[in-house]
């Protein structure tokens, strides 16, 4: 128990430790510590606790792969910002094919339309939109444009209605 010291003195001991006391008050508290065992003990305890906390905060790593962690951030940033139309690519194609079919004259526009309509994968590809039906499930979407793969990850507990844990069905 700290009998002799009132609350104000105790708080001032702490402020001394934190470098928050004006010079004159700090000097007074240092004198107190030198002559009062209780004050010295409390000061030492506060100091030890501070040292323990300063040195031993638990280091932690984000438990997700770099791309996965970033993909949600990027998606939310883009959702909040107005998006520019990816026009330049199309215009480049349009003007190329227009030049290529310049000989056919009036059919150049049709050819360009043909190209845009029929060539797979040249259109801007929108991201998957997931509506989750279950209250305790959230989803994250990641798309790799190069490989043509879209991942929708459901943050579902491992014991869930989809996973079997021990897969048993055969391949057809």
């Amino acid at each position: 128990m700290i009998y002799g010291m009132n609350e104000e003195l105790q708080i001032k001991l702490q402020a001394l430790l934190d470098g928050e006391l004006p010079e004159a008050e700090a000097a007074a508290m240092i004198n107190l510590i030198a002559r009062d065992a209780e004050a010295a003990a409390l000061h030492a305890e506060l100091k030890n606790t501070r040292q323990a906390l300063a040195k031993f905060e638990r280091p932690l790593n984000v438990p997700e792969a770099r791309e996965f962690y970033w993909s949600k951030i990027e998606r939310e940033i883009e959702r909040a910002e107005p998006r520019a139309e990816p026009a330049p690519r199309r215009h480049a194609l349009f003007s190329f094919w227009r030049r290529a079919f310049a000989v056919a004259g009036g059919f150049a526009a049709l050819a360009a339309a043909l190209f845009i309509v029929t060539t797979p994968g040249k259109h801007p590809i929108g991201g998957a939109e997931m509506e989750v039906a279950m209250a305790d499930v959230t989803s994250f979407t990641y798309r790799n444009y190069e490989s043509g793969a879209t991942l929708v990850w459901l943050s579902y507990p491992a014991e869930n209605d989809v996973a079997t844990g021990q897969p048993t069905t055969t391949i057809q």
Binding site: E67, P120, V137
Partner: protein
């Protein structure tokens, strides 16, 4: 306008019409139920590793598992504006609606309950992967690949 130009115009038009019709035609899809794991070998002797293309696509995604095994694979087709449903296991099914213009709406069912719905642009050769954690630090994946 001479005969040569008329024939050229007709050729373009017929190709245009044929291709437009193809775009509106049925979608050929491959649905797979896959088990993802860090283990090199699956304990289930009926499992086999996924094919190279699926492996390559899964490897391009930020998944921590490096080995994927087919539990089930089903090929099916869905006509324009139609819906097809396939059951991949006693727990898992997917329903796919062909929305036209290379778009699909996919419903995932777990134990008969709807888990979620995804609307996705899915051109030929591309894959949509729905995935989540499974027991034993593994993952379940339901893939839907648009076939050529």
């Amino acid at each position: 306008m001479n005969l040569k130009n008329i024939f050229t115009a007709a050729a373009f038009l017929s190709v245009f019409v044929a291709v437009s019709a193809a775009a509106a035609a049925e979608m050929k899809l491959e649905a797979q139920l896959i088990w993802g794991t860090s283990e090199v070998k699956s304990p289930n002797p009926k499992h086999r590793p996924v094919d190279a293309d699926v492996q390559h696509k899964l490897a391009s995604l930020p998944l921590k598992w490096s080995h994927f095994f087919e539990e089930n694979r089903l090929l099916f087709a869905v006509a324009d504006a139609a819906t097809g449903k396939v059951t991949l296991s006693d727990r898992c099914a997917v329903e796919v609606k062909n929305l036209g213009n290379n778009r699909v709406e996919v419903l995932l069912f777990g134990k008969g309950k709807e888990v979620g719905k995804v609307t996705q642009h899915l051109p030929r050769g591309e894959i949509l992967v729905l995935a989540g954690n499974a027991p034993g630090e593994s993952a379940w994946l339901v893939t839907l690949k648009r076939m050529e």
